[in-house]
């Protein structure tokens, strides 16, 4: 008798819990990151929560392993599958190792997208890149133009400080920069040098540039190591106000140089927007509002999908004196 009573009450409790969970939100999205406790991903979660608030009927489950391993992420994804979430949006630790478990998730009716760091095509429906190569190239030249105007306007010599000569990403971005350069008649590219993503070599290459090109106004460094070293070199050589450094870098590393004036503005993807867009895309997939060629990202716009389901979110986000301190605390 007692046993029966216990069973009955436990079943009742379970039923109540199921009901309350079902009412909490119509769409549950698992936002899986490379590891918990990383500023960049905490910021992405902030964006995801913003999207959830805006949509109203969404619950975002922010989760990830303690260290950046594929096995840890698989364990986390396993428990999301068990909870029967509606969508999983993952920034993957391993392009290939996550494919089998994500295939399983899709087989159980869960929509899967990857963002930031992608997984193989078989494991997801959409991959959201933070940006695209043409957009990155264009942004770098746009920033150079802003910096050239700050340095006095008129004709301006610019130089590029890259990583290694064999770095695939860097070379693609430099090509894209050269493609849009003719649209800016005032900018004159005088040199491309390589700092190998080493702080001391980048520093020496920058000093070389400053010595050999006395009319240099702007140094564009689309590498987070190079941009810091170049800014330091400009400061040490007393060229602040005459030569500006710009490119791609991290707010936490560049906040000081923005204050000193060596850097006017720079760009990198905005993690808050990335988390927001990933949540929006997941929601629209669940609701069947995505087509084979495009899907809405809410306030950010519409993502165009290529044949493999790849999308680019937006051009890199610009950081300057007005917002760099706020983001320096995040990443």
């Amino acid at each position: 008798m007692v046993f029966k009573k216990v069973m009955a009450s436990s079943l009742l409790a379970a039923a109540v819990m199921t009901a309350s969970l079902a009412h909490a939100a119509d769409v549950r999205v698992g936002l899986v990151v490379k590891a918990l406790g990383i500023g960049f991903f905490e910021a992405a979660n902030k964006g995801a929560q913003e999207a959830a608030k805006e949509l109203g009927d969404v619950e975002v489950i922010y989760t990830g392993p303690t260290s950046t391993t594929a096995e840890g992420q698989i364990e986390v994804i396993n428990s999301l599958i068990a909870q029967k979430v509606d969508a999983i949006a993952v920034s993957a630790n391993d392009t290939d190792a996550l494919v089998p478990i994500l295939k399983k998730a899709q087989k159980r009716g869960i929509k899967v997208i990857s963002w930031d760091s992608g997984v193989g095509k078989a494991g997801r429906q959409i991959h959201l890149n933070p940006s695209s190569n043409p957009l990155i190239g264009e942004m770098n030249i746009k920033l150079a133009d802003v910096a050239a105007k700050a340095a006095g306007g008129g004709k301006a010599d610019i130089a590029i400080l890259s990583a290694t000569p064999t770095s695939t990403n860097q070379n693609i971005w430099i090509d894209e920069m050269k493609k849009v350069l003719p649209n800016y008649a005032n900018l004159n590219l005088v040199a491309t040098v390589y700092g190998d993503d080493l702080a001391d070599k980048s520093y020496r290459e920058t000093i070389g540039l400053l010595k050999s090109h006395p009319n240099l106004k702007v140094i564009v460094a689309p590498t987070s190591v190079g941009i810091v070293a170049a800014a330091q070199a400009v400061k040490d050589q007393g060229k602040i106000g005459k030569v500006f450094v710009t490119g791609l870098g991290l707010p936490s590393e560049l906040a000081g140089h923005v204050k000193s004036g060596a850097v006017k503005s720079f760009a990198i993807w905005n993690p808050i927007d990335l988390g927001y867009a990933a949540t929006m895309i997941s929601y629209n997939l669940v609701k069947g509002k995505a087509t084979a060629s495009e899907v809405s990202m809410g306030r950010i716009g519409t993502a165009k999908l290529d044949a493999d389901g790849n999308a680019a979110m937006a051009e890199p986000f610009i950081y300057d004196a007005s917002n760099v301190d706020e983001f320096a605390e995040i990443f």
């Binding site: 436990s10 409790a13 379970a14 819990m17 199921t18 969970l21 918990l36 406790g37 489950i61 989760t63 990830g64 392993p65 303690t66 260290s67 391993t69 594929a70 096995e71 840890g72 698989i74 364990e75 986390v76 396993n78 428990s79 599958i81 068990a82 909870q83 029967k84 391993d94 392009t95 290939d96 190792a97 494919v99 089998p100």
Partner: protein, 348 residues
């Protein structure tokens, strides 16, 4: 079982040593009373596991679902398969910290073999063979140079992992033949995966090996008193060498299963697994100083660990909090019986 830890009297059974080494003594021991059986470590673990299951099914409506439970087993079965032979090795007063690195090296070897066109059977053999070679290497160093195994295997842990990094760098190997995914992703019957079924079968084999053969009795004898075992005619070195090879072979088998489950190999595969595997063994009541422990204890501990982490995962408890809980559980479960024994034995 005669060799399991009993709560009121944890380690003081000196006459067991000789009885065990002679091999025929098990039947001569006084038969365990029901009360003793209830006070055993394994029963205590079983109670906790049951409590965890009940708590989990109250906390999450998704816990008691055959498919979910089946999915959950994938998270720990490969580790559990290595824990079985490792329990024997630890009972024998040795340890192997290099198991996760052996998994990595075996996986890299399989990856290259697959690239050169090896079929599934060959891959299985290669995985286990690499494991055996690594185990043999560990075992020879420990037994021939008489260096403590903790020192040797800390070294080979870095050595095997380092070799995987040198061979593979930041590359990935994923040219596994069709059907290779059966080992780590296939199902034998309904929700019983290949991995899980294999683990159940191996657990039975290891139970018989440790508790019902001379090999098992020798393992306890060496663990309780290596010198005594030596003088009663046991080839201690050869026995330990065999156990190291056994652990290596099973790490190789785990490599086959894990590689098949992931469908790819990177040098970081199974990073940090050695500690979770040893945790399973210790939680199962195997004395880290050697001499006592049981396979059924390890078997229950595997499920206890698996259910606790899966249950917390269903509640979306962050991994950092989860490792704190598992750590606290380990300390509590180990400390409780000791404190209880002290309480029962206090002078009245």
């Amino acid at each position: 079982m005669d060799n399991s830890r009993t709560i009121p009297n944890t380690a003081q059974d000196p006459d067991n040593t000789l009885n065990n080494s002679t091999g025929s003594a098990v039947s001569k021991l006084p038969s365990t009373s029901i009360k003793q059986r209830l006070m055993s470590w394994e029963f205590f673990l079983l109670l906790i596991t049951a409590a965890v299951c009940v708590a989990n099914s109250f906390a999450s409506p998704y816990f008691l679902d055959p498919w979910n439970l089946s999915d959950a087993t994938f998270n720990f079965v490969e580790k559990a398969i290595v824990a079985l032979p490792l329990a024997l090795l630890i009972i024998c007063r040795e340890i192997d910290l290099s198991v996760a690195s052996i998994i990595a090296l075996a996986s890299v070897a399989m990856g290259y073999a697959a690239q050169w066109g090896a079929d599934n059977t060959t891959l299985l053999i290669i995985g286990i063979s690499v494991g055996i070679c690594c185990g043999l290497f560990n075992g020879l160093l420990v037994t021939h140079f008489a260096i403590p195994s903790i020192v040797i295997t800390i070294g080979t842990m870095s050595l095997f992992r380092g070799l995987s990094y040198i061979l593979l760098g930041d590359q990935v190997l994923k040219d596994y033949p069709a059907g290779f995914d059966y080992f780590g992703q296939g199902y034998v019957y309904w929700v019983f995966s290949v991995e899980f079924t294999l683990f159940l079968a191996l657990a039975v084999v290891f139970y018989l090996l440790l508790h019902h053969t001379n090999f098992g009795r020798r393992t306890y004898a060496i663990g309780k008193n290596p010198t005594g075992a030596f003088y009663s005619g046991i080839n201690v070195k050869r026995h330990r060498l065999l156990l190291f090879i056994l652990v290596g072979a099973f790490a190789g088998l785990a490599a086959v299963l894990l590689t098949s489950r992931l469908g790819s190999t990177r040098p970081t595969i199974a990073l940090g697994w050695e500690l979770s595997i040893i945790t399973m063994v210790v939680l199962g009541g195997v004395n880290i100083m050697g001499g006592s422990g049981s396979i059924h204890g390890v078997f229950i501990a595997v499920f206890l660990m698996g259910f606790v982490t899966f249950g917390l995962g269903l509640l979306n408890v962050p991994g950092i909090v989860m490792s704190i809980i598992v750590g606290a559980m380990l300390i509590a479960v180990i400390a409780c019986p000791v404190l209880l024994a002290r309480y029962l034995q206090r002078p009245r």
